[in-house]
């Protein structure tokens, strides 16, 4: 055969192969877990542990946000969705399983002298009514609000638990993950933000709310109220690999791991 024709034919075969690959349903082994960036770091830890025990399994953890995760499960783009808020509306047809509970901590820079805020003050702070730290017992400096973006499960939980009907001020800076908010607050002595309690570290200070320190004990006893569930979402009853992973997550070992990371285990007595 003419070599040019051969080259051409192989190129066409390649295109054909490509279109077949594209047209085919993907047949990949492993479980995709997608959704809330608040749940993501914990799910990554769980996946790491799980894959250590089941070396042939693959758990792909993927951020994107609660809503995207729920959508991904619905459209079969992911096997398990992660959500840091309860299901709403038509989403309720999906299966949701609470894997742990998480508190939202209000964080400030460690140098900021403010220690405690009543819930009402947090609301006034975030609705933009209080504009200076002086009004809250801090230094005379304007407050830099940091919030999560629209669609975030943490933001929805914060809206419901703290703000009620009030709106979060539009001048608030918007960051798209807990870590990013922590970064901004750690770098700016006048900033305030809210993140998952499990992700608070030494670079920021978590405020007491209405006198209650955000701690696992206080959450379990019901003294610290800013608590929301972390959910795994399934399209139907979990089965196969997804079921094995879920069982692992609900088991005592994984739950111990989660409480060590600052979440409230579902096995907790309270």
């Amino acid at each position: 055969m003419n070599p040019n024709l051969k080259a051409l034919l192989s190129f066409l075969t390649f295109l054909l192969f490509l279109s077949v690959a594209v047209g085919c349903q993907r047949s990949k082994a492993g479980i995709t877990v997608a959704g809330s960036t608040s749940v993501e770091p914990f799910a990554e830890l769980l996946a790491e542990e799980y894959m250590m025990k089941h070396p042939h399994s693959r758990i792909y953890v993927q951020g994107g946000g609660s809503t995207a995760g729920i959508e991904a499960v619905r459209s079969h783009a992911a096997h398990i969705g992660m959500s840091s808020r309860s299901l709403i509306g038509r989403e309720k047809s999906l299966h949701a399983i609470t894997i742990a509970k998480d508190a939202i901590a209000i964080i400030i820079h460690p140098q900021n002298p403010v220690q405690n805020l009543p819930l009402v003050k947090v609301r006034e702070l975030y609705s933009g009514k209080i504009k200076n730290w002086k009004e809250l017992g801090g230094k005379d400096h304007s407050i830099i609000l940091v919030t999560r973006e629209e669609g975030s499960g943490t933001r929805e939980a914060f809206q419901r638990l703290v703000m009620g009907e009030e709106e979060i001020a539009l001048e608030a800076l918007v960051q798209d993950s807990n870590g990013a908010i922590r970064q901004v607050v750690a770098g700016d002595p006048n900033a305030v933000g809210y993140i998952s309690l499990g992700l608070v570290n030494e670079k920021v200070k978590a405020l007491n709310i209405s006198g209650a320190e955000p701690s696992v004990i206080n959450i379990e006893r019901g003294r610290y109220h800013l608590v929301r569930p972390f959910l795994f979402i399934f399209n139907e009853e979990p089965a196969g690999e997804a079921k094995t992973f879920l069982d692992f997550v609900m088991g005592p070992e994984a739950q111990r791991l989660l409480s060590r990371e600052g979440l409230v285990s579902i096995l907790s007595k309270f």
Binding site: Q25, R26, K28, G30, Y60, V61, Q62, A77, S177
Partner: protein, 280 residues
């Protein structure tokens, strides 16, 4: 006389300002590189390249992101090269200034200016959702292929343009057909130019973030097939730095990223100077 002196004063002032501008451009580049490399180079031990990230990247190395970058780039190059070279050959050898060539050229010029977030949106609806490929190496690679296509078309065209007309005349006079001329006289001689285009595209693929995060995902697990999600080095750097997971690891990844980009670009520029500029 006075106005004459003024002219020279103006000239000197302008010269000084231009010197300042040129020097500050160099200074900024050095500042950026210095900052990242100073903090990052000490992290770059061999184990940093051979270990996978552990606990979200706080420990371990960057093996999986490196594999991710390589995988996406390879897919993008494999898909974009035949398309790009084919288009360039068609534009240069099979059509003169016709309406269709003008449309194609305008299209590729426009494609070159489309922001990466738009490619990301497109890849997300088309590959990830519509074709149901999920967040995967394939989705990300195909999206990247669309982004680098204009570069490959453009450099290939330049390379073909630089080939003297006599090459074609010789081929035709020996009884060669058009296609024989293309495959035996044009493409072999345009090869260095095509290669330059590919290297430039590799550079762009390595640095891309916005489009990849929407199409290839950000999973840290070792991929097993073209349909596995993946995290590239640039995405890994972005996530580490932005979420403050580990500044140390972020600097390390950033330094590795910069070194890689510098390496690729030095090759590309070397080739460019040697084969394209000289010939034309």
């Amino acid at each position: 006389m006075r106005s004459n002196r003024l002219r020279y004063v103006t000239q000197s002032v302008a010269k000084i300002l231009i010197w300042i501008a040129a020097l500050s451009t160099i200074a900024v580049m050095i500042l950026i590189l210095f900052q990242i490399l100073r903090e990052g180079l000490p992290i770059l031990r061999l184990s940093f390249f051979t270990q996978s990230p552990k606990s979200m990247g706080r420990e371990g190395g960057i093996l999986t992101p490196i594999i991710g970058t390589v995988a996406l780039t390879v897919v993008a190059i494999i898909v974009a090269t035949p398309l790009g070279v084919g288009t360039a050959v068609f534009l240069r050898e099979y059509t003169r200034e016709s309406r269709i060539s003008r449309v194609i050229r305008f299209g590729t010029d426009c494609l070159a200016g489309v922001p990466s977030i738009i490619f990301g949106l497109f890849g997300f609806v088309f590959f990830v959702i519509y074709l149901n490929m999920g967040w995967s190496i394939l989705s990300g690679g195909l999206t990247l292929a669309a982004m680098i296509l204009p570069t490959i078309i453009c450099t290939t065209e330049e390379a073909i343009k630089a080939i003297p007309y006599s090459f074609r005349e010789v081929s035709y006079s020996l009884g060669g057909t058009k296609w024989q001329t293309v495959t035996r006289a044009i493409l072999p001689n345009a090869l260095p130019g095509i290669f330059t285009g590919i290297i430039l595209s590799v550079g762009r693929s390595i640095g891309e973030t916005a489009a990849i995060i929407l199409t290839a995902g950000s999973s840290l697990v070792m991929p097993t097939s073209l349909f596995s999600p993946i995290r590239t080095m640039a995405v890994h750097f972005y996530i580490l730095a932005r979420e403050g997971i580990s500044m140390e690891m972020a600097y390390g990844t950033g330094a590795a990223l910069i070194l890689l980009v510098l390496f690729v670009n030095t090759i590309a520029n070397g080739l460019l100077n040697r084969y394209i500029r000289h010939r034309s």
